[in-house]
């Protein structure tokens, strides 16, 4: 269980997260949505340890991890797919997957992660994770690194960004498979995407650094449908 208790965060006097409290039980699939600038990415970074809260606590399975470093959080089972994946000159896709797996990784295992995100493994495994990759390719590799971590809490920040229409179904399938493969795995996805909201157990609406709404999908989703928070893929292209 992941508990966020009275979390606050701000930069230079601007409050970004305000006294936020949220509990995510094991095995839950939660989608966090809300307007741009509402603090979603900041919340994800607080969970991953990339930002430190000004006040409040983060508790994972009963252990207070508020003061844990990024590395310690990763080792306690938190994985995080960045909204904007990072590029590395000189590291190739296999290097990243190997680091993510934290053990000797065979080429065929690495290939499985890549196939799962719809990339032809043999074309990508040796590719440098640099500017030669497109935004969509980077996003998929980012998701593959989280798959390779095999973590108990997986946070994805707008995984759909840059992913073409054809692969939406595949994207939702990835998350469904992740659940199937490990019952107790908690999945937190930040998304505006209708099809992703649709497969959630629970939806959280975050605005102004606070939880505006929270509840089962069937309860929250109808309130969002048609609003700009739940975008259909075609709406994005228009």
């Amino acid at each position: 269980m992941l508990e966020l208790k009275n979390l606050s965060f701000g930069v230079e006097g601007n409050d970004i997260i305000r006294d936020l409290t949220l509990t995510v039980p094991d095995g839950r699939f939660v989608v966090i949505t809300g307007p741009n600038g509402g603090g979603k990415s900041t919340l994800a970074k607080l969970i991953a340890g990339i930002e430190k809260p000004l006040s409040g606590q983060i508790i994972l399975n009963g252990t207070d991890i508020t003061d844990y470093s990024i590395t310690e959080r990763a080792k306690s089972g938190i994985a995080f797919a960045f909204q904007q994946p990072v590029r590395f000159k000189g590291l190739n896709v296999f290097d990243l997957l190997r680091i993510a797996a934290g053990k000797k990784l065979s080429v065929s295992e690495a290939c499985q992660y890549l196939s799962e995100v719809g990339l032809c493994a043999k074309d990508y495994i040796d590719r440098e994770v640099n500017a030669s990759l497109s935004g969509g390719e980077l996003k998929r590799i980012e998701i593959a690194t989280v798959l390779a971590r095999n973590a108990s809490v997986c946070v994805f920040d707008e995984p759909e960004a840059g992913i073409d229409l054809w692969s939406f179904r595949n994207l939702t399938r990835i998350f469904e498979n992740m659940r199937k493969n490990e019952e107790g795995r908690t999945i937190i996805i930040i998304s505006h995407q209708e099809r992703i909201l649709n497969i959630a157990d629970e939806i959280v609406v975050l605005a102004d650094g606070k939880v505006k709404e929270q509840g089962p999908k069937d309860e929250i989703y109808p309130k969002l449908a048609g609003s700009e928070l739940a975008e259909e893929p075609c709406g994005r292209l228009a």
Binding site: T71, V86, F88, K89, N92, I99
Partner: protein
């Protein structure tokens, strides 16, 4: 017939990836003495009469053959200047592996200044790999000052890999090249300095013939209190294309001066330079730490990848 002690063998492994006597032509030099030489049917190695060094003559049409000419210094205080000339015939395709390893456990400076000249015949392809490496914890410095001159005939190609990532206290490397029509040069330099090491790297590449091209890429890392000056110059004197890139990471109190320059003397010369110096991006460290690495491990992975 190659005679060397264990330290010398270790140096050879570092600079030439050699675990045993290589196939093909070779010349091993240890503390200024010849430690082994072999010519082949197509590649002839002879000692110079008037000064220290060798001539390597490669016959026209020699393909898929290699020459290894590693140099090791394990005697503190040994200083030498060596002249090696490579005459590569026409229509060849060869690999040349050079490199120098210095182990200095003593208090006197050890220095190897290698002056290499390449004369590359028409349509020939050369791959040149040069590694420099230093070890030993004596107070004597390990100094390497290589000069490389490359003269390329029409439609020849030269690919150079120059690596110096450990243990050399002071280095000044100069690379000069002149390219005739259709010649193509690709340089990949990798440099890392530690402690109070100093490294100067100077390139002067002249694109003299129509259709010639050069791509000179230097990646470097300056750690601790080390200093680097990178001076990459490409001159376009014809219808040609040139690209240079200096990409550097500074750490600790390292300092780097990058002085790129381009000179176009022909309206159809296309020259591009890119240069960037900066510390390791925080988000790169963050990303690798979210994958479970410590900050230090993340740094190592980033540097290793960068210099790969």
């Amino acid at each position: 017939m190659v005679q060397m002690d264990e330290i010398q063998r270790r140096l050879i492994r570092e600079v030439a990836d050699l675990h045993k006597v290589p196939e093909g032509a070779y010349n091993f030099r240890a503390n200024g003495e010849l430690a082994g030489r072999q010519s082949t049917k197509n590649i002839e190695i002879t000692g110079k009469e008037d000064k220290s060094g060798i001539d390597i003559r490669i016959k026209d049409g020699t393909k898929n053959e290699s020459v290894h000419i590693p140099v090791v210094l394990s005697e503190s205080g040994h200083k030498e200047t060596v002249y090696n000339d490579f005459y590569v015939g026409e229509d060849c395709d060869v690999l040349i592996v050079a490199g120098c390893g210095i182990d200095n456990c003593g208090s006197q400076d050890s220095e190897h200044d290698g002056i290499h000249r390449f004369f590359i015949g028409k349509n020939s392809k050369v791959k040149y790999v040069e590694k420099h490496y230093g070890s030993g914890d004596g107070s004597g410095k390990r100094i390497l000052n290589p000069v490389t001159e490359v003269y390329m005939e029409e439609n020849s190609a030269m690919e150079m890999e120059m690596v110096q990532i450990k243990g050399v206290d002071s280095t000044k490397r100069e690379t000069l090249a002149e390219l005739k029509a259709g010649a193509r040069m690709v340089v990949q330099e990798r440099l890392m300095t530690h402690g109070v090491q100093e490294a100067y790297s100077i390139y002067d590449v002249r694109l003299n013939g129509d259709g010639s091209s050069a791509d000179v890429v230097s990646r470097s890392v300056a750690r601790d209190k080390s200093y680097q000056k990178l001076d990459l110059c490409v001159l376009g004197n014809a219808v040609c294309s040139g690209h240079t890139e200096c990409d550097s990471i500074i750490m600790d109190e390292g300092r780097i001066l990058a002085v790129p320059s381009l000179e176009a003397n022909n309206v159809d010369a296309m020259l591009v330079h890119e240069a960037a110096i900066g510390k390791i991006a925080g988000e790169q460290l963050n990303k690798l730490m979210t994958l479970g690495l410590t900050e230090q491990e993340a740094e190592e992975q980033i540097i290793n990848g960068f210099l790969k």
